[in-house]
Amino acid sequence: MKCHKCPKVATMHITEIVSKDNVQECHFCEECAQKYLQEEVLEKETIEVDLGPSIVKMVENLAGATSAVCETCAMQFADFRNSGRLGCPHDYTVFHDELLPYLENIHGETKHCGKFPTRYGTNKNIQKEIDLLRKQLQSVIQKEKYEEAAGIRDKIRLLENQ
């Protein structure tokens, strides 16, 4: 995603709630985001009397502080913060924990549940199904549906023994 104000990559995502039905999303690079926020502060100071508490701002500054370096592509997490691009597939493993809040912010989710490459192996698919069943198990237990829970537990055992 590109910055709304310049051609750089957007790394700051700001949700501005103007009113109940008017939510605006702004995507900026770090530099433009700073400018935008400063302008807003100035503006807010002068017009706050008029608008009062209707302006609610959520700023997600997704700072990640790690000194880890990817052994495959020599990428540091700071490089990603500047460019918005990762260097190689292995980065997703190296910066796994740092990436989670970014993914949560962009997608609202952190776990893939679409297509798997067919060659990826059936055992991986089974693992995925087990994960899903475990989640279901949690939810039915919470709802105190114990009969259903027992059924799901049996399914999990069956899959685990494959």
Partner: protein
């Protein structure tokens, strides 16, 4: 590849056929894929990019798929030819502007294109005229399966298909539907639609994708989220919302005609009049006026103008297409003159407005 021959047709996406084609111009799905064991293009050396290109080119050309592919290396093309492919939506502006070894494999039906070394190693794209994401998905999913047998994709159990930008990770899928919404745009109701879309994680873009301007009242609606939802779930979300937008546009057209019929008629007639008699024409003005003529045809407010001619003109009047058709490179002013002449010759032979 013979671009001159291509320039005479409108290509798949502006064919103007298919389901709901008076409002839905085209449906498109793209999948972002990367090869395991290589850095993403932004961090790859030219040597590595050449290696990736050779590998993918070989695998794509030997693919036993329903369509055969022809590989075009971007480094071998001049600026005009690159622009030509961008206008036809066969490559992205990013691929045209990047440097280093890169290219595109084009299917023989012009509805499939596989970009190599764009932001990701491989971007598969399928295009359909009208509203048909389902058939687009069927084709691209199959093509993806075929390719996957020949190359090793970068895939992570938790994050799915790995991409250079985390906004594409997971399914790597961007599905978009291009709509022609002149009535909603003119009556300023379009912003309301966009706000509603944003709430359900759908986004809107101009004719040529991210960062492009809105022109000719064309809008692309696409999914923003690629992680945590299955491909089918994402497609269903788009599927459920497009008929509503089509409905709003139809209602807005009816209301517009009822409340301001004379003004609308005048606008359409003037658009046609200008297109068929002006002697200089910019591409922006052409898009705007063709949009009104297109609307006029679908609302039966203009007669004897062939919708296919108008659909073709949208693409043939773009700068690179125009130069291909004229057979020479033209500067801005020469283009405007040539464009006006081309429009006159295409439109004068037909068209009248009912009294």
């Amino acid at each position: 590849m013979n671009f001159e021959a291509l320039s005479k047709s409108s290509g798949e996406w502006l064919k103007g056929s298919g389901i709901e084609s008076d409002i839905v111009i085209s449906s498109r799905i793209r999948l972002a894929r990367n090869l395991a064991g290589f850095p993403f293009p932004n961090r790859a050396s030219n040597f590595q990019k050449a290696e990736i290109e050779n590998l993918l080119k070989d695998r794509i050309q030997t693919l036993e798929f329903e369509q055969k592919f022809e590989y075009v290396s971007l480094t071998a093309l001049n600026t005009l030819d690159r622009q030509f492919l961008v206008e036809r939506q066969l490559i992205s502006r990013e691929l045209a502007a990047n440097d280093g070894p890169r290219g595109v494999a084009l299917g023989n039906l012009e509805s499939l294109s596989l970009m190599v070394n764009e932001e990701d190693h491989l971007r598969l794209q399928v295009m359909r005229s009208g509203f048909s994401l389902e058939s687009a998905w069927e084709t691209i999913n199959k093509l993806d399966d075929y390719l996957e047998k020949k190359v090793s994709y970068a895939f992570h159990e938790e994050f799915g298909y790995l991409t250079a930008c985390p906004t594409n990770v997971g399914t790597g899928m961007r599905a978009s539907v291009m709509l022609h919404l002149p009535a909603l745009d003119f009556t300023k109701q379009i912003d309301k639609v966009f706000r509603a879309l944003q709430r359900i994680n759908l986004t809107h873009r101009g004719l040529y994708g991210e960062g492009s301007r809105f022109s000719g009242h064309f809008f692309q609606i696409s999914n923003q989220v690629t992680l945590g939802k299955s491909e089918t779930a994402i497609l269903n979300e788009i599927y459920s919302v497009i008929p509503q937008i089509i409905d709003y546009e139809r209602q807005a057209r009816v209301a517009w005609k009822k409340d301001n019929g004379q003004i609308l008629q005048d606008r359409i007639s003037r658009a046609f009049g200008t297109l068929s008699s002006a002697t200089m024409m910019t591409s922006d003005e052409t898009m705007e006026l063709l949009s009104y003529v297109r609307l006029g045809i679908h609302m039966k407010m203009i007669e004897d103008v062939d919708i296919n001619t108008v659909n073709e003109l949208f693409i043939q009047t773009q700068p690179a297409h125009l130069q291909k058709l004229m057979g020479s490179t033209l500067d801005g002013e020469e283009r405007n003159t040539a464009r006006a002449k081309f429009l006159r010759s295409k439109l004068r032979s037909s068209g009248s407005t009912p009294n």
